[in-house]
């Protein structure tokens, strides 16, 4: 350690005045610091590199053997010979050769958010530069990742003039949003009128005799207009179902079950949520009944049906 080190901030705790027993547990704060920082000369090789950095360029130095050292050293680490005076601009892009991930940055670290340390082989260099990569998430890091420097606006000729490296652009996020006004159409409006009253309205095809719920104005099988309206009960049977583990704003929680429910008296199942039962107990053939929200909360909307819950009846044959 240089002898001109300044020990600043030592707080002498009056040891002599303290009884012997307590003195054993004395602790004093102590700071080792060069106030204002220690001034170092750079020499011509490191000085050139730092000067170029200040101008927003990264250079390496050529060795007699033709290698390009980045960052430049005064001597070839392989041979011990002085390097040539030839400097070559490299990068600014480079490839990550090895990396580690800091999830809790320390005060002295270059970034305050989680980041990677990396050995980066800049394009045109034969050695790797150690620096930080601001990748956002460890999963974004990999060997071979292409990165570029993010420069500080105010540069002084210091390795931290590069704030960090950042991954090259390989994707963009495109915002997509347009707004519409949608009307339900006559058939759905009629069905929702029923839902508002707590009734499922369906229809029977005059040609094939199938009963459809929700109500519709034509038979998709026969292609003829339907005129006979029928009300079906709010009980039915689960024909198939799926357990969903991705959250959905229309479902109360995950996992939730969405199911095809064949309402009694209808021929085509309707899709709805199943609740009031653990997801793993839901099965094909299970008998269910709609759980309606209280009358005062009802609107002309499918949200009138909280979900379908088991009735407790024996399973139905499908």
């Amino acid at each position: 350690m240089p002898s001109d080190a300044t020990a600043a901030g030592t707080t002498a705790a009056g040891a002599a005045a303290v009884p012997e027993g307590e003195a054993r547990s004395l602790v004093a704060g102590h700071v080792l610091e060069f106030p204002g920082g220690y001034t170092r000369t750079t020499g011509p090789v490191i000085g050139r590199f730092l000067t170029e950095l200040r101008d927003g360029r990264i250079v390496g130095v050529r060795t007699a053997g033709g290698r390009t050292l980045v960052p430049p050293l005064e001597y070839d680490p392989d041979t011990g010979e002085a390097v040539t005076g030839e400097f070559a601009e490299v990068g600014p892009a480079g490839t990550v050769e090895s990396w580690s991930w800091v999830s809790e940055p320390r005060p002295a670290h270059p970034l305050e958010r989680p980041f990677a340390w990396a050995l980066i082989r800049l394009d045109g260099a034969d050695t790797a530069l150690v620096h930080a990569v601001d990748a956002g998430d460890a999963r974004a890091m990999r060997q071979g990742l292409r990165v570029r420097p993010r420069w500080k606006a105010a540069r002084t000729g210091h390795i931290t003039d590069i704030e960090s490296f950042v991954p090259e652009v390989t994707r963009i996020v495109s915002p997509v949003r347009t707004e519409y006004r949608v009307r339900p159409g006559k058939a759905l409006a009629r069905f929702l009128d029923g839902v508002a009253r707590g009734v499922f309205i369906g229809c029977r095809c005059g040609s094939c005799g199938k009963v459809y719920v929700p109500y519709r104005l034509s038979c998709p099988e026969c292609g003829v207009a339907i005129t006979e309206e029928v009300e079906v009960p709010d009980t039915g049977t689960i024909t198939t179902f799926a357990i969903n583990n991705l959250p959905d704003p229309r479902a109360p929680e995950v996992p939730f079950v969405s199911a095809y429910i064949l309402l009694d008296g209808s021929d085509i199942p309707m899709i709805a949520l199943v609740g009031g039962v653990p997801a793993h107990e839901v099965r094909q053939g299970m008998r269910v009944r709609a759980v309606w929200v209280p009358e005062e909360e009802r609107t002309a909307s499918m949200s009138n049906i909280k979900w379908f819950a088991p009735t407790g009846e024996p399973d139905a044959e499908l």
Binding site: M1, A7, P71, W99, S100, L119, T127, V130, T160
Partner: protein
């Protein structure tokens, strides 16, 4: 070459917390122990290894001389390195032939500061230190470059900590568990524990060694090699300098019964085993190694002492002590000892 042997070794019961001892107070018991074991009160040469940055005070090693009794004046030297390099200097000094004994000691109280950041101060001041690259971060870069297998690392830590629990001088650490990262890919238990402690070794030459010790651990080879400092200038996946030091020390000239490796991170053991070409039949770090106790600046000397102890107590006939210095195993010292 003059025959030189380790004839005495002692270490503190290392501590994971600051026990309130001054540095000379930490050293005195181990000096007394090796003085008693060797029967020597004075030595032809004395050399110590320590780091002033651990205490944050310039020339802090000078006050440690109080534990020596340096009057009348003694011939003394110091390295600002692990005391394994003090042992190397003492071995070289004994080769001169005019003195026959040497006392070597090392000590460190890393509990007084933040070792991860103190170790940043050893880095090159232009390219690395300004980044705030700390010790665990650069070790993690090496672990990543090596691509060490997680199960292999876990087993190294489990084995080291189990051995440490059987070693009264090492810390009592539980089997490794937990899947959090310190710095990915290193988990907290892959990092040597913060430790305070000291160690001392007595070297003696020729017939005097035989007089002082029933079964001296003869140093048949000792060599150190260093690589470029900057991490991007070397292949971090392997240690060329450890391999070259091992060849120069003659590690491969016979079977190695025991190897004590200065691996402060679990992946370093993987790299060092390969560099030293150690077979599966070599017992690695039976003391628990640095992963069970890491009194910085004494840890490397303890590796030589622990390896020598296996010769002295007759449980091994050929042993290797390894010490490392600098970031990512930059500098490696290998000592081969035989009965």
């Amino acid at each position: 070459m003059r025959d030189v042997a380790v004839v005495a070794f002692a270490q503190t019961r290392h501590s994971a917390t600051d026990e309130g001892l001054g540095e000379s107070e930490l050293i005195l018991p181990v000096l007394d122990e090796v003085r008693d074991a060797s029967g020597l009160r004075t030595f032809g040469f004395t050399c110590s290894g320590s780091c002033d940055y651990l205490a944050g005070a310039p020339f802090s090693f000078v006050s440690a001389l109080d534990a020596l009794g340096a009057w009348p004046p003694i011939s003394e030297s110091h390295v600002e390195m692990d005391a394994a390099w003090a042992l190397y200097e003492a071995w070289v000094r004994l080769q001169h032939g005019d003195v026959d004994t040497a006392l070597v000691y090392g000590f460190g109280k890393s509990s007084q500061g933040d070792l991860r950041e103190i170790m940043t101060l050893q880095l090159d001041p232009y390219y690395l230190a300004p980044l705030g690259l700390d010790q665990v971060s650069y070790a993690a870069l090496q672990a990543s470059a090596r691509g060490a297998d997680r199960a292999e690392l876990d087993e190294i830590v489990r084995r080291s900590r189990a051995a440490g629990r059987d070693n009264p001088c090492a810390l009592d650490l539980p089997d490794p568990e937990g899947d959090g990262y310190e710095v990915q890919p290193l988990r907290p238990y892959d990092v040597a524990p913060m430790t305070d402690g000291a160690a001392a070794v007595v070297l003696a030459a020729g017939d005097l060694a035989r007089e002082l010790c029933e079964r001296p651990a003869w140093i048949t080879g000792i060599a150190h090699r260093i690589e470029p400092h900057y991490l991007g200038m070397r292949d971090l996946a392997r240690s060329a300098s450890a391999a070259e030091a091992a060849r120069a020390a003659g590690v491969g000239k016979g079977h190695v019964d025991v190897a004590e490796l200065h691996a402060q991170f679990s992946h370093e053991e993987v790299i060092l085993r390969e560099a030293l070409e150690l077979p599966a039949s070599t017992a690695v770090n039976p003391s628990g190694g640095p992963l069970a106790a890491n009194p910085v600046m004494a840890t490397g000397l303890i590796r030589i002492g622990e390896a020598a102890r296996r010769i002295t107590d007759g449980t091994a006939s050929r042993a290797v002590g390894h010490a490392a210095s600098g970031p990512c195993l930059q500098h490696n010292l290998v000592t081969v000892m035989e009965a």
